[in-house]
Symmetry: C2
Subunit: 351 residues, 2 copies
C-alpha cells in the first residue's frame, strides 16, 4: 500500500480524517435520515426512529489495563454509547458487542468484561442482542454498537442551534481527566517503587468519573418536565472545546463561553492545583465527561436558571464572531479543539 | 485478572464461549424479539423489523495483508455482514464501521479500505451511516455492524426447521477455502524465492471467492417468485458442518446430508486433487462461502428441483438420528463442527 504517495494520518487529525472519509458518502435508502456527522445515525422505520452509535475501544490507546478493572471497562464501553443515544434525545434499547482479545486473556477476564457490560445494560434497561468474540494477535479491542429509539419529532441534532441561544451543560466538567492524571501518576509511583500504596484518599469522585462514568439518562425527562426542548445537543466526550465546536460548525455559528460559568467540582479544582494546571484546561480539553451540552432559546432561561445541575455557560453568536472563551478578567481567547485525538498514539507506536 | 482460577478460552471453543456468555442474558425491551443466537438480532419497531449483525475482523486472525488487497478487505468486511441480513430474509440498508489501525497505515491505506466498503454499499444499495476511526498499537481491526429491514412475517430464523424438511444450499461450496490454500501456498513460495511469479492461472474463481465474496441478495426474491418460504435459514460462514449444526441444534433435530449431492465447482475439485485433500472436507469445514443454507417443506421439492444454482443436499430427521454425512458408498459419518475457530490464533500467539 506504500507504492503510491503516503500521507500521515497525524497530519489530518481525527476530525480531518472523518471529513475526508465522509465527504462523498451519499445516502440511498429513504429510511436513512442522518448518516455520519452526529452522535448517532438516524434511521426512520415508517415513523419510529432508530438511533445507531458505534465506538471502538483499543487497549493502550483508550484504556490502560494496569489501572482499569475489566468490569469497569465493560461498563464504560456500554455507557459511552448510551450517552451518544441520550445526546440525540433518544432511549438506548439494544447493544451489540465485538470483542477481540489475545490469548493473554482467560475466560475469567471475558467474564469480567461481560459482567460490566451486563450491569450497564441492567441499570440502563438495554438488551445485549448480539456480538462477535474473536482472538487478536495482541491486545484487547471492544467494539460496541448501541441502538436506541425516539419519536421522529423528538430527535435533537447538533447542527440546529440558533443565534443568541443559551449554551447549557449538565453536571460538572473536567473530573474524568483529573482522575486520569491521578491514575497515571500512581502508575508511575508504583513502577518506581512497587511497595508504595496508592494515595487515593478523597479522590473517589474523580476516579469514578474516569473509570466508571454514567450517561445522563435523566436529562431528557427533566427537560420535558419543565417544557424545554433544546435546539441542539451533543454529549461531551472529547472535551467542551471540541464538542461546542461541533455544534458551532454544524450550525454555522460562533459562541461566547464564560470561564466563570464553567461547572467544576471542588475535588477537580484541588487536584488541578496539585498538578499545577489550569482547571479550565481540564474542562475544555480533558474529555470523557459524558455530560450533555445543549442550546436553548433565550426565553427558556427562567425555566432553567434554578435547576440544580444545569449550568448556563454562554451563548451562540453569528459565525463571524468566532468561538471564544471569555475569562473572568474579560480576556477573550479563541477556542481551539485540542480534544483527545484517538488517531495519535498516546503510548509507544508499533515497531 | 489472573489471581483467581484461570480457564483457557481454547478449551471452550468459539461456540462454547458464546453459550457461556449468553446463557444468562435476559431481554428487557419488548422490541427486542431475538437477541444473540441467530445470524442477526431482530428488533420490532411497531411492525417493521430491524435486523442487526456485527462482525469484528482482525489482522493476522481473519486476514493476511500480504495477499489481501485493502480494497477487497473493505468490500468483504461489508459483504459478510450483508450476508447475515440476507440469511434472516431481510434487506441490508445501513452499516456502521469501526476501524482501528496502527501508524504503519497511511491515509491512502484508509482510503483503499473505505473504497471497498463504499463499493459494496453501492452495489448492495446500503448506506454507510456512522463509525469510529481510531489508532491501535499494532495491527488493523475492522468492526462492521449492518442494519437491515424486513416485514415481521418474513423473518426466517435458524431454529424453526421441521422433521423431513429438505436441506438446500445455494451456489457451490468449498471454493473460498481452496482459494485460501492457494494464497497461503503462493505466500510460502514467494517467501522462499521473491523472484518467483505467483502461479494463479485459471484460479480466478476460487481466489475471488476468498478475497471478494458476494452475498446472495438474489435468493429471497427468487424463492418468493416460486412461492417457496424456507422453514429455517442461515448463511454458510463457518463451513457447512458448523452451519447445519446450528440449524439442527436450534431446531432440536438431526439431519442426513449426502456427499454426492454437495455442489462443488470443478476448479475447487481440481485444486483439492492438487493439494491431496478430500473436497468434501473443504465443503464441510472450509467456511467463508457466504451461500445460504435453508430448509423447505418436502412438498416444495417440485418447485425447487429444476432451479439452477439450488442443490437439495439432504433432509432433516429427528434428533435421535443425529447429524450424519452419508457417503456415496452408503457409509454414515457423524458430522462434527470443525469450522474455522476465531478463538484459536492461527498465527503466532502474543508474546
Amino acid at each position: 500500500m506504500d507504492d503510491k504517495q503516503r500521507s500521515e494520518l497525524s497530519d489530518l487529525g481525527e476530525f480531518g480524517l472523518i471529513d475526508h472519509i465522509t465527504k462523498d458518502i451519499k445516502l440511498r435508502n429513504k429510511g436513512s435520515l442522518k448518516g455520519v456527522g452526529d452522535d448517532a445515525a438516524v434511521i426512520d422505520n415508517s415513523g419510529k426512529i432508530s438511533l445507531v452509535s458505534t465506538d471502538l475501544l483499543v487497549e493502550g490507546v483508550h484504556f490502560d489495563l494496569s489501572y482499569t478493572p475489566l468490569k469497569h471497562l465493560g461498563y464504560k464501553a456500554a455507557v459511552v454509547n448510551f450517552s451518544d443515544i441520550y445526546a440525540m434525545n433518544g432511549t438506548p434499547e439494544q447493544i451489540t458487542i465485538g470483542l477481540a482479545l489475545s490469548n493473554r486473556f482467560s475466560l475469567e477476564a471475558i467474564n469480567e468484561i461481560y459482567e460490566g457490560l451486563k450491569l450497564a445494560c441492567e441499570l440502563y434497561n438495554v438488551d445485549l442482542v448480539g456480538g462477535d468474540t474473536t482472538s487478536s494477535l495482541s491486545g484487547l479491542f471492544i467494539s460496541v454498537t448501541a441502538i436506541g429509539s425516539a419519536k421522529k419529532e423528538d430527535v435533537i441534532y447538533r447542527n440546529t442551534a440558533r443565534v443568541d441561544d443559551l449554551i447549557c451543560v449538565t453536571g460538572d466538567l473536567g473530573a474524568a481527566y483529573m482522575g486520569l492524571l491521578v491514575l497515571e501518576r500512581e502508575k508511575q509511583v508504583f513502577k518506581a517503587n512497587p511497595d508504595m500504596q496508592p494515595d487515593l484518599e478523597g479522590l473517589d469522585y474523580i476516579l469514578e468519573r474516569q473509570l466508571k462514568p454514567e450517561a445522563r439518562k435523566d436529562i431528557s425527562k427533566m427537560l420535558e418536565g419543565i417544557k424545554v426542548k433544546p435546539s441542539a445537543m451533543i454529549d461531551i466526550s472529547d472535551g467542551l472545546a471540541s464538542d461546542i465546536m461541533h455544534i458551532c460548525k454544524g450550525s454555522k455559528l460562533g459562541c461566547q463561553i464564560y470561564t466563570d460559568k464553567l461547572p467544576i467540582d471542588s475535588v477537580t479544582m484541588n487536584m488541578a492545583a496539585d498538578f499545577q494546571i489550569d482547571p479550565n484546561t481540564a474542562v475544555m480539553n480533558g474529555g470523557e465527561d459524558y455530560e450533555l451540552l445543549f442550546t436553548v432559546s433565550p426565553g427558556d432561561y427562567e425555566k432553567l436558571k434554578d435547576i440544580n445541575g444545569i449550568s448556563v455557560i454562554g451563548h451562540m453568536t453569528d459565525a463571524e464572531t468566532g468561538m471564544n472563551l471569555v475569562t473572568s478578567d474579560g480576556m477573550s481567547i479563541t477556542i481551539k479543539a485540542q480534544g483527545w485525538d484517538g488517531l495519535k498514539d498516546k503510548l509507544s507506536p508499533e515497531a
